[in-house]
């Protein structure tokens, strides 16, 4: 079975109990499918729910309704109702998520942040370290920064560490939230190459790409995320 991601009738509403019970309807019966080898771009205005879709796909947000079927490594899991330890196992081995902002543990050096992801996916410590170094080189993070914590890095450097940490593992499913947002042209080109390589090896990629050139370069098709958000 090749990798794929399928959302079926996914709805998501946020109820803000401590703000007068405000209700934000963000997704209403959204269905989409990403096959291995495809890169699907989510498009829609700010606040439409694009990041919400990616967060639901990795189990970070729970949908109110619908199924989120993750197929990888010969088995399919509905991440919307999988137990926490199954979600964590999928994140170690099957689903890579590049979030809009880097969240790391303070004081851990950049190289370790990247190596840990490889280790969690099953690499030996030496191998993980070597692959982390290669990935940081590919993403052009200067070696003098490798032993420093990314918390003080520039926006673009943080974003590249974020990408390195995901791309160091050949995840069958990739969720990319504006991976090139704060990158210059040269670094953007590097990331575009990484995404295309991932598709070529059969990964199912779902991403948000604000930059039209990047989107044109990587996306095989687009899915619209209509704006529903309104106070009910």
């Amino acid at each position: 079975m090749t990798a794929s991601l399928r959302l079926v009738d996914v709805s998501k509403t946020f109820v803000l109990h401590n703000q007068d019970g405000a209700v934000l309807r963000v997704l209403d019966r959204l269905s989409l499918e990403v096959e291995g080898g495809e890169c699907v771009a989510l498009v829609g205005p700010s606040g439409a729910g694009k990041s919400t879709v990616l967060r639901i796909a990795c189990g970070n947000y729970a949908p109110d309704w619908g199924r989120v079927l993750v197929a990888a490594g010969g088995r399919a899991t509905d991440i919307a109702c999988a137990p926490p330890r199954a979600v964590l196992a999928l994140r170690r081995q099957a689903i890579g998520h590049v979030s809009q902002f880097l969240r790391v543990i303070p004081r851990v050096p950049a190289i370790e942040v990247v190596a840990e992801a490889a280790r969690l996916a099953g690499s030996s410590p030496d191998d993980a370290h070597a692959r982390a170094g290669e990935m940081l080189d590919i993403l052009r993070i200067p070696r003098r920064l490798w032993s420093l914590s990314p918390t003080t890095f520039s926006g673009g450097e943080q974003q590249r560490v974020n990408i390195a940490r995901t791309m160091v593992v050949p995840f069958p499913i990739l969720l990319l939230d504006e991976p090139t947002a704060s990158l210059d042209a040269e670094n953007r080109a590097v990331v575009v190459d990484l995404i295309r390589d991932a598709c070529r090896r059969g990964a199912a990629v779902l991403g948000i790409f604000h930059d039209a050139d990047v989107r044109a370069a990587v996306a095989t098709r687009e899915v619209a995320c209509a704006t529903l958000s309104r106070a009910a």
Binding site: H17, N18, R55, G59, N60, A62, P84, R85, I105
Partner: protein, 258 residues
């Protein structure tokens, strides 16, 4: 993925007189899993932990622990002797105040060695060597092995307590506000230590904390308590980023973003 839960708590309730501290709590811990119990002061976290860890008999409920031999034991149906044996060998408790978990009149090395002797170690040289190894592991200068814990700083005492608990290689460890009385930089170091130890040893643990940042850093799963009840539980980042219950939303929105 591993077979069966290490611990299953079913319908655990406890009251102090007419004051209900825990009400029908269900909790599970799987091998290698770190579970955080969060909630405001007085929500029943310590009561729950004390009942689960075999230190206080609950008013009602089952605490089913899967022992090393594969059998499930209800800690509160077992004999006192069996419960004490498990507490000494397979379970471990890290107290908020290191003074409750250390013997202050015994040297640092003795504090660690004592736990080994309690599980049957007899060779003095080997015990001392293992104690020294664990002091190093929790970043205490081995030169301090013969010093009394009362000459240690709060952070060192807490690390010593952790060494004392982990030296006998328990399978499930309970921690009650382990970073509670420490200042921020000392807390950070202790958290790093706890994180790497629990990862490297594949330890299962239940950690009680009111600090959501601690829970985010250490725990795979979170259980939110209020007024003695579990109001929400799930994957740590799901509970913190997409909280459902009004009380969880209040907790999450009350802290400054990290």
């Amino acid at each position: 993925m591993t077979e069966a839960p290490l611990l299953r708590v079913r319908g655990l309730s406890h009251a102090y007189g007419s004051r209900i501290a825990c009400s029908a709590v269900d909790v599970e811990v799987w091998p290698g899993e770190v579970l955080a119990i969060v909630g405001e002061s007085g929500s029943g976290k310590s009561t729950l932990l004390n009942c689960i860890s075999g230190r206080m008999r609950p008013g009602a409920g089952e605490v089913l622990y899967r022992a090393k031999d594969g059998r499930e034991v209800d800690l509160w149906q077992a004999s006192d002797a069996q419960r004490r044996l498990l507490a000494r060998t397979e379970l471990g408790m890290v107290h908020q105040n290191p003074r409750d978990g250390l013997r202050l009149g015994v040297s640092a090395g003795g504090n660690v060695g004592e736990r080994l002797m309690a599980v049957g170690a007899r060779n003095y040289g080997a015990i001392r060597a293992t104690a020294a190894e664990w002091l190093a592991r929790v970043e205490i200068d081995v030169g301090r092995i013969d010093d009394l814990p009362r000459t240690f700083s709060g952070g060192m005492q807490q690390r010593l307590q952790i060494a004392r608990v982990l030296v006998s290689r328990p399978r499930l460890v309970f921690l009650d506000e382990p970073t509670g009385g420490l200042d921020v930089s000392v807390q950070a170091r202790l958290l790093d230590l706890l994180r790497s130890l629990s990862r490297d040893l594949g330890l299962a643990s239940i950690i009680v904390t009111h600090d959501l940042a601690v829970a985010r850093l250490l725990a795979h799963r979170i259980c939110v308590m209020r007024g003695g009840e579990v109001v929400e539980d799930g994957l740590t980042d799901r509970v913190l980023d997409d909280p459902r219950h009004p009380y969880t939303q209040l907790l999450v929105s009350s802290v400054l973003p990290p």
